[in-house]
Each structure stands twice: as structure tokens, then as C-alpha cells.
């Protein structure tokens, strides 16, 4: 068995401690140890983006991140965005545009879209396509997802103007 590593980090704004095997991924820790199952296991090798989380202000594939490397860092999962205003706008926009079908990719897409809007509050369609190139969706064909993210950006535009 691998050595266990004691870590302390911020998870969705709350200080947490965990003991994790050295080889464990952050995704395994989140889902199996901490029971935060909003973050999805898709491919396990960084291709699909279903496991996207935010670490220290940047999006990352949690399947590729060693759990031990969360030590001292600020980790946000989809559960941590439940009360976030911009995420609420994204959520509404995804619903309005029918950008959710089976829903498996949705937490990852929302996490990535949220990170994208942080860096670029009003992205165009081409910028959105680049921003979500690491997220696979097998249902929607992406068009509705792109429109949903664009509208969430535009809505924040209106709000800025007020």
C-alpha cells in the first residue's frame, strides 16, 4: 500500500483535513472519501473535462491532480458554487437554452464556463469554443452550450451597465 499523506486545504470555503494515499487522485478523494459526487468521473485521463474543478483560481482536471497536491490550496467544486451569483446565471442560461441533456458533462462545463467568465466576462462564440475545448458533451452538439455561456456573459454585461 502507498504511504498515507495528511493534508489540510480549503474546500468550497471550508477548512478541511484529510489523509490520502500518495497515489490517489483528487477526483477519487472528492468522490469516494469526501462524498462530493457532483464532480464526475468520465475518462480518467484529462480528455473529457467532466471532473473539472477549480484550484487556486484556475480550472483543472481533478482526475490528473494528485490528492496530496491539494495540501494548502483553495479547491472549489461544483457544490461550492451553489450560492454563486454568476453560476446561478449560468445555470438559468443552461436551462433556458436546453444546454443540458443527459447532464453528465454539465458540472464540468459549468465549472469551466465559470472560470472562463472570470478571465473574460463577455466572451464571443469563438472564445467560448476555445474555452470549453477540454470538455466533451456527447448529447448537445455544443451549440446550445455555447449559446448558454454567451448569454450568461451578456447578462453579466447588462448587470455591469446597471
Amino acid at each position: 500500500m502507498s504511504a498515507n499523506v495528511s493534508i489540510a486545504f480549503t474546500l468550497n470555503g471550508v477548512a478541511v483535513r484529510a489523509t490520502v494515499p500518495a497515489h490517489q487522485s483528487a477526483l477519487e478523494m472528492l468522490r469516494d472519501e469526501l462524498h462530493l459526487t457532483g464532480t464526475k468521473y468520465g475518462c480518467g485521463e484529462g480528455e473529457c473535462g467532466a471532473c473539472t474543478i477549480n484550484v487556486d483560481g484556475s480550472s483543472a482536471n481533478s482526475c490528473l491532480l494528485f490528492a496530496a497536491d491539494c495540501d494548502g490550496r483553495d479547491v472549489v467544486t461544483i457544490e461550492g458554487l451553489a450560492d454563486d451569483k454568476l453560476t446561478e446565471r449560468l445555470k438559468q442560461s443552461f436551462v433556458t437554452h436546453g444546454a443540458v441533456q443527459c447532464g453528465f458533462c454539465t458540472p464540468g462545463l459549468v465549472m469551466q464556463a465559470r472560470h472562463m467568465l472570470d478571465k473574460n466576462p463577455h466572451p464571443g462564440h469563438d472564445e467560448i469554443k476555445r474555452g470549453i475545448e477540454g470538455n466533451l458533451c456527447r448529447c448537445t452538439g455544443y451549440k446550445k452550450v455555447i449559446e448558454a455561456i454567451a448569454e450568461a456573459g451578456e447578462a453579466s454585461n447588462l448587470e455591469d451597465a446597471r
Binding site: 497515489h23 477519487e28 484529462g46 480550472s59 482526475c63 490528473l64 497536491d69 469551466q112
Partner: protein, 309 residues
């Protein structure tokens, strides 16, 4: 039982291994906060080095990478951070991520081929995490940053404490890469930085990567071109290729063919020299024949573009 169903069952591939588990032989996990502590650990015994983890994690899950007894996370070592320039030499700390490079003004303005390689590197989630030191030490023949770094004559800086005192050596990247997944890094050494001479302001460069899709792809081939163009001729011509040899390579004979002469007159002999210098294999991403076709046709277009600068 229905004959059709039975044959389907037989032909189906075996179930993939469970995603959890495997690679669980790590006896010690270290996360040193100084270069000195990291080098002491490397001196003490075999160590698997972890930086971004984006290659190490999938390799360990599929059993392609085996862990040494000690796993050392180097991400908290301040000496490995940052990007800076001093007296004409640009230093990329080993932990600089692809996003760090993309957002760096110097990379944007003076290292176009490197910027382009980072721009088409995997996806945003991976660019935020993957490091330049990791891309080099993983030594994939198709490694995205290796081709432009070869064009820019990059050197890697290796630190060790073999006899108890800090020693560093600087190795040209072209000598550091010795085979697929293999470098000339000694087990007690740590790659601390990449050093690249700042090219003059007229130096132009470009990177092109051919694959099945724009994002998250491993190159079928990649090409880096750099030169000082003057009146249709190329001075200081530099050509590098990825995924057509056991390592990413410079192409000195192709460069010699082009050097100082009009692109329009040297393009055919240069393409011939390039075809001689590469040794592509057929694999899941492309056949050797297709790789040669790609090199010839893409390089032609890139040289024509540079010739018009």
C-alpha cells in the same frame, strides 16, 4: 443462445481495468519547500518526480509508469518558479505552466513559435497545470513545447548535490533528449529551469501541429521554423520536427540547404533534405507515409510564408 449475440460477446474487448487502484507502491511522499531539500532527497535514493502530474497520473493509472519508493512533489519549491530575462537570456522556471507562458508578454512578442505551441497545447484545464519542465522531462517525441524550444536553441539547467555541494550543469535541449521518454538527466538531478537566448527583434518563428482535432490531440507531426528573413532569403534558418523521429529533432541539413539563400530557389532541395532527416514510424496516429507527406506539404507552406516576411 442466439448465435449473433454469442459472437458479439466473444469479440468484445475485455473490460477495462477498474479506474481506481494500481500504482500503489509509494513508500514515502515528500513535498519539499526548498531546492536544497529536494536535491538531498534525490541524492538519498530513487525518486519519482511529480510536478503538474498531467502525464504522471495517467501513466501510473495505466501501469505505463512505475513509481520509485519515494514520490516527490516539487511544486512548492520557489527556486523553480517564474519567467524572467537578464542580459539577453530568458529563464523559464521548470514549474512555469503553459498558461504562464501564454500570458507572458515576452513569449508573446519574441517567441511566437513557443506561444503557438502553448496555445494549441491540450486544453485550458491542462494548460493551467502542465509545466514546461514536465513537458521536457516526459520527452515525448511529440512533446508540443520541445519543437519550438529546439528552434530557439534552449538549454536545460540541471541541479544536483552528488558530492554534498550544489552543482549545476547546462545541457543543450537537443542533447538532453535521447529517446522516447528518455533524457540524459541523472537520477540525482533535478531540472530547475530552461534557458533560451532572446532572439533579435527581426527573428520570426512559427509552429504548426497536425492532428485529428484542434484540441487535446497528440501531434501526428509538428514543425517549428525560425529565421531572420531578408529580401526573400533566410538567415540563421532553424527547422525542428516533432513525432517523426525517436525524439523531437533539429534538422541541420535542411537548415544548411536554406541558409542565406532565396527560399524560392532552395525550397525543393530543403524538402528533400527534410525527408532524409526524418525517420517516422507508423502508429495509431498516422502512417509513416502520411507523416512524410505532412512534413513535405506543411513545411513547404511554412517556408513560403517565412520567405515573404
Amino acid at each position: 443462445m442466439n448465435e449473433h449475440l454469442r459472437s458479439t460477446a466473444v469479440e468484445r474487448e475485455p473490460a477495462p481495468p477498474t479506474p481506481w487502484g494500481a500504482a500503489d507502491e509509494i513508500a514515502t511522499y515528500l513535498a519539499p519547500r526548498s531546492l536544497d531539500a529536494a536535491l538531498e532527497a534525490l541524492r538519498a535514493g530513487p525518486v519519482t518526480i511529480l510536478a503538474g502530474g498531467t502525464d504522471l497520473m495517467p501513466q501510473s493509472k495505466t501501469g505505463r509508469a512505475r513509481f520509485h519508493p519515494t514520490l516527490m512533489n516539487i511544486r512548492r519549491i520557489p527556486e523553480l518558479q517564474g519567467i524572467g530575462e537578464a542580459s539577453g537570456m530568458v529563464r523559464f522556471g521548470a514549474l512555469a505552466t503553459m498558461t504562464d507562458l501564454l500570458e507572458n508578454a515576452l513569449v508573446r512578442s519574441r517567441f511566437n513559435a513557443l506561444w503557438q505551441a502553448c496555445d494549441c497545447f491540450a486544453s485550458d484545464q491542462l494548460r493551467n497545470v502542465a509545466t514546461i519542465g514536465g513537458n521536457i522531462c516526459n520527452a515525448s517525441p511529440a512533446g508540443d513545447t520541445l519543437v519550438p524550444l529546439l528552434v530557439f536553441d534552449a538549454h536545460v539547467v540541471l541541479a544536483s548535490k552528488a558530492d554534498g555541494t550544489l552543482a549545476t550543469r547546462t545541457v543543450p535541449l537537443r542533447d538532453f533528449l535521447v529517446g522516447p521518454g528518455r533524457t540524459s538527466r541523472r537520477p540525482d538531478e533535478l531540472l530547475t529551469a530552461v534557458e533560451v537566448p532572446l532572439p533579435n527583434e527581426r527573428f520570426v518563428s512559427a509552429f504548426y501541429k497536425a492532428g485529428a482535432r484542434p484540441a487535446l490531440d497528440i501531434s501526428a507531426i509538428s514543425i517549428g521554423v525560425g529565421a531572420n528573413p531578408a529580401a526573400g532569403a533566410l538567415n540563421d534558418a532553424r527547422i525542428a520536427f516533432g513525432a517523426v523521429a525517436p525524439t523531437a529533432i533539429r534538422a541541420p541539413r535542411t537548415e544548411a540547404t536554406l541558409e542565406g539563400r532565396l527560399v524560392a530557389e532552395t525550397i525543393e532541395p530543403a524538402l528533400k533534405a527534410a525527408d532524409d532527416e526524418i525517420s517516422p514510424i507508423s502508429d495509431v496516429r498516422a502512417s509513416a507515409w502520411y507523416r512524410r507527406e505532412l512534413i513535405r506539404n506543411v513545411l513547404r507552406g511554412m517556408l513560403e510564408n517565412v520567405g515573404q516576411c
